[in-house]
Symmetry: C2
Subunit: 256 residues, 2 copies
């Protein structure tokens, strides 16, 4: 049941980072050993867990991808017991260009994470909003992809490109790549648009769509400004409760 999960969707602002932070924290609070890996040059995951600007002795994910620094030397503890982080900073923007001419350029992250499988129950990779070399590295390193989806038209449109990219990765680089699940985020059941998109997604992805739906909830937007996961910042909020339910559903799906 030890799995490396990439949280990916090239559509921007759909809740990738919010999902990574709150699912990982919920699992860590339940006693699982969890590693978060920030592969987005924006570094929102790093700041969302309160570690903005911090680096390990060996540096950040940038150094891990572009040099042979030991993975251990870039792992940081967080304020949450059982939750660790590989941080990112803006240097990662340059990695996309530097990786182009490197050997095995799609397998750099896989090499970093493979030796860590034994030490963590779950590893989550937060991807940038693109299908470039950084996201490709995450898709090659991962066992499965968790796809957050904002129930709006542009987000629905991008799914075909994401699924196509996953198919190409499965064919050439990572044959076992699976879909962990599709997560409906920022769901507002008062609008027709949300209901229509949700119906289309369930028709296409069937049982791969998580039963748990994340509502639009202002506490999820506020928590990052306090450098804390929402499940800690306001555990009673609807947003936090939904992420705790999602973590439970993920564990149940694998126990089955």
């Amino acid at each position: 049941n030890k799995r490396i999960i990439a949280i990916a969707n090239q559509k921007g602002g759909v809740g990738k980072t919010t999902t990574a932070i709150n699912v990982a924290t919920s699992l860590a609070l339940a006693g699982r050993r969890v590693l978060l890996v920030d592969v987005d040059p924006q570094g929102n995951l790093t700041s969302g867990v309160g570690l903005k600007g911090q680096r390990g002795e060996g540096g950040t994910v940038y150094e891990a991808l572009t040099s042979d620094v030991s993975p251990d030397s870039i792992i940081l503890p967080t304020q949450v017991e059982n939750l660790s982080l590989m941080p990112a900073d803006r240097n990662l923007t340059g990695a996309e260009i530097e990786l182009v001419s490197m050997p095995d350029r799609e397998r750099r992250l896989q090499r970093v994470l493979e030796p860590l499988r034994g030490r963590f129950d779950h590893i989550f990779i937060d991807c940038p909003p693109s299908l470039g070399l950084l996201t490709l590295n995450a898709l090659v390193a991962a066992d499965a992809v968790l796809i957050p989806l904002h129930c709006e038209y542009f987000a629905l449109e991008g799914l075909a490109d994401l699924v196509g990219t996953m198919r190409r990765v499965r064919g050439a680089l990572n044959p076992a790549l699976d879909i962990e699940g599709v997560l409906l985020t920022m769901y507002d059941d008062r609008t027709n648009l949300g209901q229509l998109v949700a119906r289309d997604v369930r028709e296409f992805f069937k049982e791969k769509v998580f039963n748990t739906i994340i509502p639009r909830n202002v506490r999820l937007g506020e928590a990052p400004s306090h450098g804390m996961p929402a499940v800690l910042y306001d555990a009673k909020s609807r947003g936090a409760a939904a992420y705790v339910a999602l973590a439970k559903e993920m564990l149940e799906r694998h126990a089955a």
Copy 2:
């Protein structure tokens, strides 16, 4: 007053494409000749004006950046009089890697758009959510940058990287690059977070912040599924009215 404007912010989902579509359409309805340029491999701008999957004789922005096809051969008319489009499709994802080894890799878009300055009153470039080579090309080709900003913490955090990148582009590649303005989008005045972020942004950017604020409005989310700009889909909606007011404010700022 003829200006090439890049609509950029590496933070995902802040309203870049929605702004490009509705400002451009408002100006075209007012009789100005407007060109939209889609530089995002997602192609949301192309589908948002109802031209999903369409290409010019010479192809899309991908061909314009990677070959010497004539710019005229990739310009398409839209359903709106005075509004034209250079479309994008998923091939553009490959351009980021192909551009790395090309001569003058940051100036490819500038070469495409310079000869068109005489034929259009306004040229708007819709950027992808990243600071890679596609956005760099837009920053080099543009006279100014319009920065849509979602009033949330992660969006605020990314501004420093965007401003830093603009400073580097100004120093080496495009000395005249200016800020057209910062646009507050999806603003919800009922939340503290929105008000706090808006206050911080006005302190930093001062008069560069547009007086017009775009409210969160479900019609702006619905319009793309009908392949129409919101200012046509529901001209009476608060979202559409705000974009018409923004187009007016932009014209007044330059007439002054």
